[in-house]
Amino acid sequence: MHEETVYDALTGAPDDARWAFGTGFDDPLAGVDTTVPEGVAPADLGAYCLMLGDDALVLAQRLTEWITRAPELEEEVAVANIALDLLGQARLLLARTAAAGVLGPCRERAGASVPDEDALAYFRDPGEFRCTALAAAPNGDFAHLVVRLLAAATLRLAAFDRLRSSRDPVLAAVAAKGVAELSYAREHAARWVVRLGDGTAESHRRIRAAVEAVAPLLADVFTPTDVELRLAAGGAAVDPAALRAEVLGVLDAVLAHATLEPPSWPAGAPPRGRLGDHGPEVAELLAGLQGLARAHPEATW
């Protein structure tokens, strides 16, 4: 076979997905029955999966920003692994959102060649994202990374553990799969919090400052939106208010091990991020995440 360059020979493989680490990602729900169960409103289910998917997508992006900046090579690998798990959850949840028929204006913006999942990830504007500030807040130092990851993984694990019995079998399966991954992430973050809290005077000072910085981000994570209340009543979602005692209990226990006083956890605040009300950091994060796909919607590599 005559090929112009080595690269052409590689990319000229007959089946287009053979180089799947570049282009050629396929539908993560291929072959899965995505019929929405009776009694569950598809629009609500899609909106809810978008909330959970956006938290994962945005936090994965924040974790990825740590790569090449972590204090040691093993930690880069750990952060990358956790980000990859979250990205995998985001892909399934965004695909589930699309399969429930919730796409909105991003479908038109993306153009026909872009799959639904990518239209949701790359072609929604900041106000259309449903992530919480806990997932989206800008990075700080390494202590901030592990405290935020501990809080986010603890919250998500508590939610996923209950979602294993969701009335939507797709969501239940995604949650069941995520529980094992999130347990690893939570454990990894918790060990670092203990190590730094019970470490040197400087590491203790840093982790204490990180706890003070992250605690306010929990203000709205336990406040349900109307969508969550409706779905929870029908057994398809979890009311985040029901997670508060367990999540704060785990965080207090880890902080006690780390020789840290628990902070005064914030009182419940009305949902903001879940309704698309974000600080400027979300637009900034999305500019990095979406820039290439928006400039070159047909790009393959």
Binding site: D15, D26, P28, A30, V32, V77, L84, A176, R186, R191
Partner: protein
């Protein structure tokens, strides 16, 4: 094929072909060894293959799908449908005894039995990791964990205290 004395006959049975496709990250294992192959059957003129993802974000899944289609096409099956099955989730307990033997032979410590979770909230394990693995090189049980996360989603990094060699360990999930 029967009359061709010099050529080794290639398997064409779709189950055998699919079971022989190797994992792109751990190429010493076939998809059957790894336990990701749930079912291979014919539906009309189509070969339907059901696979289950190991880790949700594992980029190897796309390659596995493509390799399955490729291998089945090469074996003469024109219509192939690879379907994802999410439930019940994959566990390292699905790695076959043969798969475990091949891992150890390749210097990768196979996983122990996946932890059985007690009722109630997922317990949090503080302190040193409770995971154990024998050194796949010298067999010593005296090994330590260097990092809970390795080069692939499914592995941790360990080191043998006796022979001092580092090695990978497939984490129990």
């Amino acid at each position: 094929m029967v009359n061709s004395g010099v050529r080794t006959s290639r398997p064409t049975d779709p189950r055998t072909v699919a079971a022989g496709v190797v994992d792109p990250e751990l190429p010493m294992l076939t998809l059957a060894d790894l336990g990701v192959l749930r079912d291979v059957r014919r539906e009309g003129g189509t070969v339907v293959v059901e696979i289950t993802p190991t880790y949700t974000g594992c980029p190897a899944m796309g390659v596995m799908r493509a390799d399955l289609v490729h291998a089945l096409h090469a074996a003469g099956h024109e219509r192939v449908d690879v379907r994802t099955v999410l439930s019940p989730p994959w566990s390292t307990d699905r790695i076959t005894p043969e798969g475990r033997r091949k891992l150890a032979e390749a210097g990768i410590a196979p996983p122990g039995t996946a932890p059985v979770r007690p009722a109630g909230p997922v317990p949090l394990q503080l302190g040193p990791s409770p995971r154990r693995a024998d050194c796949p090189l010298c067999g010593s049980p005296d090994t330590e964990e260097l990092s809970e996360f390795g080069a692939t989603a499914c592995t941790a990094l360990r080191r043998c205290r006796r022979c001092r060699e580092p090695f990978e360990h497939v984490k129990e999930i």
